[in-house]
């Protein structure tokens, strides 16, 4: 019985040690997940946010992106939105803050694929957006391309993925790619 108890204790200790190690020295996948969670938080707009806090959030948001960032989003219904560079992201964030009192962005089901050299990664996820002017939430599959620069994981490209490969443009269905 003593041996069993010791074995269980040993297993618990090993598990605890592993957890502590990954907590203090997280691997790149965990770092990327944490970073994207913080990005979602920075991109969200809380109704109780003051002007200063909003300004800080917008500046923080820009820090998650590479200076050469490209964002191409094909929304449901066919509209396409493209952004290039941090300045455009800041402008878009300012517009969003002016338009929405509340905007909640969540990144769900993150699938992280690291390059063999662990210097770049692709993250496939579902973005869920809940805003104050819509009762229903919006969802969109996205692909984030990240690269490691000066120890930080920066996003350099974001593109949309069509769940159902069919596109509506101005009310007319067009052939899929």
């Amino acid at each position: 019985m003593k041996i069993v108890v010791r074995l269980v204790l040993l297993l618990v200790l090993v598990g605890l040690g592993y957890w502590l190690y990954t907590f203090f020295f997280p691997g790149p996948e965990r770092v990327i997940r944490q970073r994207l969670a913080k990005l979602a938080q920075a991109a969200s707009i809380r109704p109780d946010q003051g002007l200063l806090s909003r300004g800080a959030a917008i500046q923080e948001l820009a820090g998650y992106f590479d200076s050469e960032i490209e964002i191409t989003v094909n929304w449901r219904g066919g509209s396409q939105h493209s952004l290039a560079g941090r300045d455009e992201i800041i402008e878009t964030a300012k517009l969003a803050h002016a338009r929405f009192k509340h905007l909640k962005i969540e990144f769900l089901d993150l699938n992280v694929t690291l390059a063999p050299d662990k210097q770049s990664a692709i993250v496939h996820l579902t973005a869920k957006v809940t805003s104050s002017d819509q009762s229903d939430f919006q969802v969109q599959e996205l692909k984030f391309h990240l690269k490691k620069a000066n120890g930080d994981w920066l996003i350099f490209r974001i593109e949309t993925i069509r769940t159902l490969s069919h596109l509506l443009v101005d009310g007319a269905l067009v052939a899929r790619a």
Binding site: D109, D136, I161, T163, L164, H166
Partner: protein, 176 residues
């Protein structure tokens, strides 16, 4: 001593203990363990965790806010079939689309004045309760593709998410 024991046996503490952990704690623990394992196996391999419907695209078949069960094992023996209401995953299973399969691999699907044509023939759709004027050019499906659409055709086609789902995106069939 005996009297005291009897009093304890029928006291509030005894009843609470009996309700919470049963008369035989060891047996209760085994029951809980079996239930946890059964629930894990059930929701990991057989069913998806209960899904709540958001949005009107499957109305009136699936009401907004209603909760349903989806089978993961429905397509182990046969491929998805026309008429099945299926769950279509996005990046994962946290949020899924619930749609009805109307076109199977290799078929050509189109909408003409609200009527759904499969390989040029009108498909009877008793589940569609509201007429529409939808038009969509013919779409020929690949070997691993299914055409899915919601039952609510009263919506404008621009507001309705429909299209082609590959087999790997179909995670299960609606049970209840």
């Amino acid at each position: 001593m005996h009297m005291q024991s009897e009093q304890d046996k029928h006291g509030l503490v005894w009843w609470l203990r009996t309700i919470l952990i049963g008369r035989n704690p060891r047996r209760t623990l085994i029951r809980i363990g079996v239930l946890v394992v059964a629930a894990f196996v059930l929701f990991k391999f057989v069913l998806l965790p209960p899904v709540r419907i958001t949005g009107p695209s499957m109305s009136p078949t699936l009401r907004e806010g209603s909760i349903h069960l989806v089978s993961r094992v429905a397509y182990l023996r046969h491929p998805p079939r026309r008429g099945d209401v299926v769950s279509i995953r996005l990046a994962g299973n946290s949020i899924m689309y619930m749609k009805r399969i109307v076109g199977e691999p290799g078929e050509t699907v189109e909408f003409v004045n609200g009527r759904l044509l499969v390989n040029g023939k009108v498909l009877e759709e008793p589940y569609v309760k509201s007429p529409s004027r939808w038009n969509m050019p013919p779409e020929t499906l690949g070997p691993d593709e299914y055409f899915v659409v919601g039952d609510n055709r009263a919506m404008h086609i621009d507001d309705h998410y429909l299209g082609v789902a590959t087999r790997d995106r179909i995670v299960g069939k609606l049970l209840l």
